[in-house]
Amino acid sequence: MTHPWIPMTETEKREMLTFLHLQDTTQLYRDVPEDVQLQRPLSLPPALSEAEASRLFRQHAAANLNTLQASCFLGAGAYDHFVPAICDWVTSRGEFLTAYTPYQAEASQGVLTAIFEYQSMIATLCGCAIANASMYDGASACAEALLLAVAHTGRAKVLVSQALHPHYLQTLRTYLAGQSIEVETLPQQKDGRTSMQALQQQISEDVAAVCLAQPNFYGAIETIAPFAQAAHQAGALFVTTAYPIALGLLQPPGEAGADVVVGEGQPLGCHLNWGGPYVGFFAAQQPFLRRLPGRIVGETQDGQGRRGYVLTMQTREQHIRRERATSNICTNETLLTLANAAYLAWMGPQGLRRVAELSLQKAHYTARQLVAAGFHLPYEAPFFNEFVVDLRCPAAPVVEKLAERGILAGVPLSTFDPQRTTQLLIAVTEQRTRSEIDTLVEGLKEVCLQ
């Protein structure tokens, strides 16, 4: 057979088989025991031509309600910030897109230089000394940060805020389960923040790490410095997840005492993509350099003194250190770090601040309008661009109803916690217009308050 993605011709095949003294390709599989060989063709739908595939997948795409058609007020760990065209442009360049991990640095200076720039940007954003070249996503990055703390302290318990993203909590439990590390949660206060009082009670000399989210899952901005202090006093590390857009305005956790700052890089120029690929960032202070998981790029020189970049400190990694590696991560999310780097360069310090301000202002406008419309916000702590509203009626059906009108109204918290039936988590980005917000508020009023 011939296939457009396989250049070998029938003539060449015969030539090559002859060269190998073979009759046909099945002989190549003589090492595969007969009883293991599949005696039938795979049962798959018939092959499509490119034109047919193109039409079919366009139909699939059109069957979805996308956030460019609808007004999206969903957050909860993934945010509808604008993705500048330059980010798609960067990630679709074949030289980046179709390269492997840069094992041969001299032929891979493009991606290595870009990662170095990415690391630098993430570090300054988080207020940390260093950063790695990406993790799978924010949740797994958080789990790996806790594993770092466990390895560093030799302790086997972590204290994690109950107000972390529920998926992050689940992920870190999965990751930590293997090594039988105890996960204890810190309760949420009435105002939405994590209880500092609880920390003081729960912290002890066997705690490896204290972990908060900034802002937390329910939108509340944590006062993190005291947590950092308390953790450090007990010899534990202090880890935060951070929403990178918020860091355009908020104090970088690294400056407030965080040892490791992780988070989800999706808001920095990556499409929502129904959940992936996303990219976890991982920044840390200098002492944890040799405990970092994942790839790290460093600067060096060639024989003529020309600057160049390489994968470095590889003795931490699985291909060298194997079962004693800092992590098993191999393929990571490099391409998205290029989108992050392009995004952050495009924004610059002014733009990042502005996108944060716009999100903040519009979210607070939304909250004010909701309150004016008679809705109640259960938490009083300051919030950035995301907050909980109590609809006083089950949120999930409301969301379904508004979706039919092209409004993705928020995330019903019942998704994560059946007790929170009437609570809706709303996020607002710079992309929402006042009129979209007003329509949301009207819609909620209409569906809930009548």
Partner: protein, 502 residues
């Protein structure tokens, strides 16, 4: 642009121009962004964020115009080798052609602009894609259920081992503490096992390049949780006694994990299920042609036999007539990440599978294996094959024949860059000294394989005549051989404001 001549009588004008970093091109006050004007009444920050600690100074991001950023990344792209440019014989990585249609379709607004938590009723197209991919991968691997949750192969390994752990813990709590792993295995295997809380026990390789069945039998026991195996293995050889191997594990109540990194060799020819595997991960960024992105994103689908379905991580799609819904295992090990999976790559993989069909996939496998054997037959006279058998989709040879000229595998690798090729995987597997691991894939033409063999021939010749050229290679890349030792000893990992001053 390439240079072809450097003796110009005067200094080469660009000789010393290494890449300028974005930070170095920055000028205060320049902007690249454009953002909507605010259409709500702005409130003072301290009114909205009372008592909140704010940034005392802006992050040290570069300040550039959009066009400057485009130029920067265009130049970086030109300094990056890729499958789109040439042959990438990186063993174990299956660097095949990544079809452009896959990228085009995965980039449609209707797929990219979907929030992971929007009502399922609004994402039926994506659910249909995921469900179809689950079914296709189940059929290809022979597994009963597939979760598309893991972000990469190693992520799948961790998930798979935790599944195995959960399964054993439910039956024999605390009993099974060891995972067996061949000494040829990829580093992620032992690393994943350790992360899953297992003690790693190494299994030797026999003189045929198979797992040493005798030794294995000695090592298995009631403490054994699982064996992790790649088949074809990382020597590019099919485990000839695979059914005995898997039976040996099952006999002691242990399970067998299939590292699917090398699945490209046997698509439609043989399936992990019939070999006796219980858990399988498939690297969609290898076998199923999703591009590797310079280091990811990948996608590491995880398939299991029916009795393990309750433990699967993440969620998967179930079809119920015209409706799709998400489901998860009753005793799931939980999430390995926040959301469903690396969806954009899942779309690409399904486009690939749909455009290949069953016959196409088998054709791909056979061609990959034929290409590898053809190339091996050429290379065999230059370097010693690690094991003298016919190979599957890749092969491992040793460069130690060049040792007496002071030439190492890395020198051969670096010199290949000068010939316009990427290098093979080197120094892996660990049991082969000076290993060169070559994987041509089915998407390379005979002419390319011939040219690559010629280049290796020329390099072996150069090793005799001008060994220094090899030791100092590469010579035609944007920078010469980089000092990795200094990089690791004195790590400089970020550009800082003090660098600005320089």
């Amino acid at each position: 642009m390439k240079s072809t001549e450097a003796q110009v009588g005067v200094a080469d004008p660009l000789q010393d121009a290494s890449t300028v970093l974005l930070f170095e091109e920055s000028r205060p006050g320049r902007i690249g962004f454009s953002l909507p004007t605010d259409d709500v009444e702005e409130q003072p920050l301290d009114a909205l964020l009372p008592g909140v600690a704010l940034r005392s100074q802006p992050p040290a991001l570069p300040e550039l115009s959009e066009g400057q950023i485009v130029r920067h990344f265009t130049k970086l792209a030109h300094a990056n080798y890729s499958v789109d440019e040439g042959f990438y014989p990186l063993g174990s990585c299956t660097m095949k052609y990544n079809p452009k249609i896959d990228d085009a379709l995965a980039s449609l607004d209707g797929f990219t602009a979907l929030h992971p938590l929007q009502p399922l009723s609004t994402v039926s197209g994506t659910l249909a894609v995921c469900e179809a991919l689950q079914r296709a991968l189940a059929e290809i691997s022979g597994m009963d259920c597939v979760s598309l949750h893991p972000a990469a192969g190693a992520h799948g390994e961790l998930g798979g081992l935790l599944v195995i752990r959960a399964y054993h813990e439910a039956r024999e709590p605390g009993q099974r503490t060891e995972v067996l792993i061949p000494n040829t295995a990829h580093g992620t295997n032992p690393a994943s096992a350790a992360m899953a809380g297992y003690r790693v026990v190494e299994v030797p390789t026999d003189i045929q390049g198979n797992i040493d069945l005798g030794a294995l039998k000695q090592l298995v026991g009631p403490q054994t949780a699982a064996l992790m195996l790649t088949n074809p293995n990382t020597l590019g050889l099919f485990e000839q006694q695979i059914t005995e191997v898997t039976a040996c594990l099952h006999d002691v109540g242990a399970l067998v994990y299939y590292d699917g990194a090398n699945m490209n060799a046997i698509l439609g020819v043989a399936r992990p299920r019939e070999m006796g595997f219980d858990v399988v991960h498939l690297n969609l960024h290898k076998t199923f042609a999703t591009p590797h992105g310079g280091g990811g994103p990948g996608a590491g689908a995880l398939g299991v036999r029916d009795f393990l379905v309750p433990y699967l991580p993440g969620e998967w799609v179930e079809r119920d007539g015209e409706e799709y819904r998400l489901t998860h295992g009753e005793a799931s090990i939980g999430r390995l990440r926040a959301f469903f999976g690396n969806v954009a790559n899942l779309i690409r993989a399904l486009v690939y599978i749909r455009c290949m069909g069953a016959e196409g996939l088998r054709h791909a496998a056979e061609t990959a294996v034929l290409n590898a054997n053809y190339l091996l037959a050429h290379v065999r006279e230059l370097f010693s094959p690690a094991y003298d058998r016919s190979c599957m989709h890749e092969f491992v040879v040793s460069a130690s024949v060049l040792k007496q000229r002071g030439i190492k595998a890395i020198d051969v690798a670096k010199r290949l860059l000068d010939y316009g090729f990427y290098a093979p995987t080197i120094y892996f597997p660990l049991n082969v000294p000076e290993a060169l691991m070559v994987e041509p894939t089915e998407t390379e033409s005979k002419a390319t394989l011939d040219a690559f063999a010629d280049a290796l021939r020329a390099i072996v010749q150069e090793a005799q005549t001008y060994p220094q050229v090899l030791r100092e290679a590469p010579h035609r890349t944007p920078v010469g051989r980089l000092d990795e030792v200094t990089a690791a000893r004195h790590p400089k990992l970020v550009f800082t404001s003090s660098d600005y001053a320089r």
